[in-house]
């Protein structure tokens, strides 16, 4: 486990170098959108990583409720914190792409954009909930229930907007699989793996920091 953690930053660096090389030198330029379409290989993996963070946070939340695992509360919090960071990056990269491709930074008429913003704000409110209650098992339970509602809300909301069609935001993954050529899909997978390992690295670093923090607080408490 320790060797895996030590190797994570290097794996991330290698994957990122590979992803950037593939995005700028290997994958063909999009016939319709031109060069600006390359931001797709950042934007979509970041968005999916944000969902993976929320999913991981919900899994840890389930452990809190199910097994009464006290460690899992902090792990759930850290995963959701990373998810919000990746969510903010999704909004940022999406906005840049929208400006280049549609000519607007933001379109309120686009359901997918508004929905992502709502989900992002939902997870921002997680911190509001968490930090307005004193630490303890009741806070752990409350945060865990909130995280579980969030992760169920994501697919339900997406189902709702897929039912109400008529979007200009491209839908790449549908029931027929990824709507991409082989080289594009390969580049996408490498970029996605790079983002996921970035998440894993940041997650383990933040978790280690938070645990040291808690440990120091306990020691101070003992000394005082």
């Amino acid at each position: 486990m320790a060797t895996v953690k030590a190797a994570l930053p290097w794996v991330t660096a290698v994957l990122f170098a590979a992803a950037i090389a593939l995005i700028f030198f290997y994958v063909p330029t999009d016939a319709d959108q031109g060069f600006s379409q390359r931001i797709f290989y950042f934007h979509v993996p970041i968005a999916l990583t944000a969902y993976a963070c929320f999913g991981w946070g919900a899994w840890k939340a389930l452990r809190v409720l199910w097994k009464g695992d006290e460690q899992a509360d902090l792990e759930s919090y850290v995963a959701i914190h990373q998810g919000v960071v990746f969510g903010a990056l999704t909004l940022l990269t999406g906005s840049i792409w929208a400006r280049a491709s549609w000519g607007h930074w933001w379109l309120w008429s686009e359901d997918q954009l508004v929905l992502f913003l709502v989900l992002f704000l939902f997870y921002c409110a997680y911190f509001m909930l968490r930090f307005s209650v004193d630490a303890g098992p009741s806070r752990a339970n409350m945060s865990a229930v909130y995280a579980l509602f969030g992760v169920v809300l994501i697919p339900i909301s997406f189902l709702a907007i897929r039912l109400a069609k008529g979007l200009i935001h491209p839908v790449v993954f549908n029931l027929q699989g990824p709507q991409m050529a082989g080289s594009q899909f390969f580049t996408f997978c490498v970029a996605f793996a790079a983002m996921l390992s970035l998440f894993a690295t940041l997650y383990s670093v933040e978790l280690a920091g938070k645990r040291i923090d808690a440990h120091i607080r306990d020691l101070r408490h003992l000394l005082a």
């Binding site: 307005s132 009741s138 865990a144 189902l159 709702a160 039912l163």
Partner: protein
């Protein structure tokens, strides 16, 4: 007790808006387009969240 009460009061307003969005989309869809898929969607929403609310109720309400 007071702490748990405060958190419970916070949970409802925070959950309300995002939870209401799928119902609004489904309800509007069901009233505008003739078709069963919005009703199926509303039924799915109901069953999923009824289950989740039932399962998580104890953890929110119980004093720990």
């Amino acid at each position: 007790m007071a702490v748990a009460g405060r958190a419970r009061e916070l949970l409802l307003p925070l959950l309300f808006l995002p939870m209401a969005i799928p119902i609004v989309v489904g309800g509007v869809g069901a009233s505008v387009h003739a078709g069963a898929r919005y009703f199926w969607f509303l039924a799915l929403y109901d069953s999923v969240f009824a289950l989740l609310a039932w399962a998580s109720f104890e953890y929110v309400v119980a004093e720990t």
